[in-house]
């Protein structure tokens, strides 16, 4: 084993331990804020693994998207929620935990066995390394064109949906007093915001 391989092995072990530890922390931590921060640590460790695999673009994208966007969004959501809720301690909570733990351990054993027993087909091609960006671009515009374009529709719709769910609806005053009074829906809004009363 030469120097570079040694460094790689050590980095891999460090990253793997950090990732598994942080991931366990996400699941087991009683504080949701800690869980969210540890999730960021998991993402960063994964990005380190990508670096070890010579996929620097994917690694940077992982940080940009998962740490910079997803995790920050989760943290925002947690910090903007003002409500402090004291949960009733659940009776026999340990039974649930034990069952969950058992199921997870079983799944882990099963998947572990799969990984060990499967005769994986190893690719013999050399890793493309730094030229990956060009290859990814080519794929986007040839054989993955359809999902790439469909993803844009998906994102547009997600954007619209997020706005629809987040904005406050203002009903014109006319609609409130008109003939819909006798026509009720089970889903009819309980309290309507009048456009005239509100300043914003």
């Amino acid at each position: 084993m030469n120097l570079a391989e040694g460094v790689q092995l050590v980095s891999f072990i460090i990253l793997a331990v950090a990732m598994i530890g942080a991931a366990l922390g996400v699941v087991l931590s009683p504080s949701v804020v800690y869980a969210a921060f540890l999730l960021g640590a998991v993402f960063i460790s994964i990005s380190g693994l990508y670096l070890l695999l010579n996929a620097s673009f994917v690694a940077a994208a992982q940080i940009l998207i998962y740490v910079g966007a997803v995790n920050v969004l989760i943290l925002f959501a947690i910090m903007l929620v003002n409500k402090r809720e004291d949960f009733q301690p659940v009776k026999f909570a340990w039974v649930r935990k034990a069952v969950t733990g058992g199921v997870c351990a079983g799944l882990f054993l099963l998947l572990g066995t799969t990984i060990i027993t499967t005769p994986w087909a190893f690719s013999t091609e050399t890793p493309i390394g730094d030229d990956a960006i060009y290859l990814i671009g080519e794929h986007f515009f040839s054989d993955f064109l359809l999902p790439f374009e469909l993803a844009s529709v998906l994102l547009l719709m997600a954007l619209i949906g997020a706005i629809v769910l987040a904005r406050r609806d203002f009903l014109p005053d006319a609609a409130l007093t008109s003939d819909i009074e006798n026509l009720k829906l089970p889903e009819r809004p309980r309290e309507l915001v009048s456009a005239a009363k509100t300043e914003q």
Partner: protein
């Protein structure tokens, strides 16, 4: 393209000549540029702090620091010493782990980003192909640190400041990235070296600022917002939020925030220079001058001069922008938080998108001028 001087190659060859295996020689080499860059960045902070104090004094018709060192130039170093020796206070009921981790997470990505800043053809730590993308990705870690310190301080002003900082940071990252993307489109590469090289050859006329004026302005505004410099320093708006997420911090932890903000400013200025002002290139190309004087470009003396000139040029242009940022800070009023977000989402984002589209169209129409 000639490669200029190759310090790494020379260093490793001389060590292998001494009988070391090449791998080991490389190990010896590796920490050197990093160390150099960290020292350089720290000195850059001190210089910009001194500049800030002097310029603000000039703007307010004062003298500013003048006793420590010539023209008070050692004052920032003394400030640093003071901060090191101050008591490190962790407020009661604060979350001490997150409280400590926050400033570290804020400053670390900025320092790592110096990995990609070039001062010459071979004068950078690592010419990674993802170049500027790495910087954008690393910059996106910062909000986590800000949220962390805001949350851990157990102080409503800190929390609000942290939230504002993170909101500002993620909303201005998008126009920033789009502006960078337009430049990348022209140079066909994310690598900072390639971006500078694509601007070289025609002196000042070849710089991207002429081809990307809109992108340049967007980038500079967004970069100022990312650094939380006035007019965008809402996260620490003292009238509203005391000092934002920094409120509870003192001593070295505060110094980390302080350093991070100035390193970030210098880094942003450096990247403006790299992306839009030809990096280490002089306004008049060195090769042209050398031809004029009748000296070969591969002459080692010329190479040393070129390299030094490159570093000088980079620093000069960078500090021009630092100066501009400081001037802006002491002459413009602060925007309101809703104005800030409106500017980011409703103005800069569409303009940056349009800029990207137009650049792509121009690239198709005039491949010779906008990168083939």
């Amino acid at each position: 393209m000639n490669s200029g001087i190759d310090l790494q190659g020379t260093f490793i060859t001389s060590l292998t000549d001494l009988g070391l295996p090449p791998g080991l020689a490389k190990v010896f080499w590796m920490p050197l540029p990093m160390l150099l860059m960290i020292i350089g960045a720290t000195v850059a902070i001190l210089v910009s702090v001194w500049l800030e104090r002097k310029i603000s004094a000039a703007a307010q018709q004062r003298v500013g620091p003048e006793y420590v060192g010539p023209q008070g130039s050692l004052q920032p170093a003394m400030d640093g010493l003071k901060l090191i020796f101050k008591e490190d206070i962790i407020p009661g009921n604060a979350d001490s782990i997150l409280f400590t981790l926050g400033p570290i997470l804020v400053i670390l990505p900025v320092f790592i980003s110096f990995l990609i800043v070039p001062f010459g053809q071979n004068l950078l730590i690592s010419d990674v192909t993802i170049g500027v993308f790495l910087w954008i990705a690393l910059a996106s870690i910062q909000p986590i640190g800000l949220l962390m310190s805001g949350y851990a301080s157990n102080n409503k002003y800190s929390l609000l400041g942290g939230l504002r900082a993170a909101a500002q940071s993620i909303s201005y990252e998008i126009p920033l990235a789009l502006a960078v993307l337009a430049v990348v489109l022209m140079s066909n590469s994310l690598s900072t070296i390639d971006i500078v090289q694509q601007q070289s050859g025609y002196g000042i006329l070849g710089w991207n600022v002429w081809r990307q004026p809109v992108g340049f302005v967007i980038f500079w505004i967004a970069a100022l917002a990312e650094c939380e410099r006035l007019p965008f320093d809402l996260p620490e708006a003292e009238e509203e939020l005391v000092a934002g997420y920094q409120t509870e911090y003192s001593g070295m932890k505060f110094a980390l925030f302080y350093m991070a903000s100035y390193v970030n400013l210098v880094l942003s200025a450096l990247l403006v220079v790299v992306l839009y002002l030809g990096g280490w290139e002089s306004p008049i190309p060195v090769g042209f001058l050398a031809d004029l004087l009748g000296v070969s470009e591969t002459n080692s003396a010329v190479q040393v001069i070129t390299a030094s000139l490159g570093i000088l040029m980079t620093m000069f242009k960078t500090y021009l922008f630092v100066f501009l940022a400081i001037l802006l800070r002491w002459t413009t009023p602060r925007v309101r938080i809703d104005q800030l977000l409106n500017l980011g989402w409703k103005f800069l984002l569409p303009v940056a998108l349009a800029n990207l589209l137009i650049t792509a169209a121009l690239k198709l129409a005039f491949p010779f001028a906008f990168g083939g």
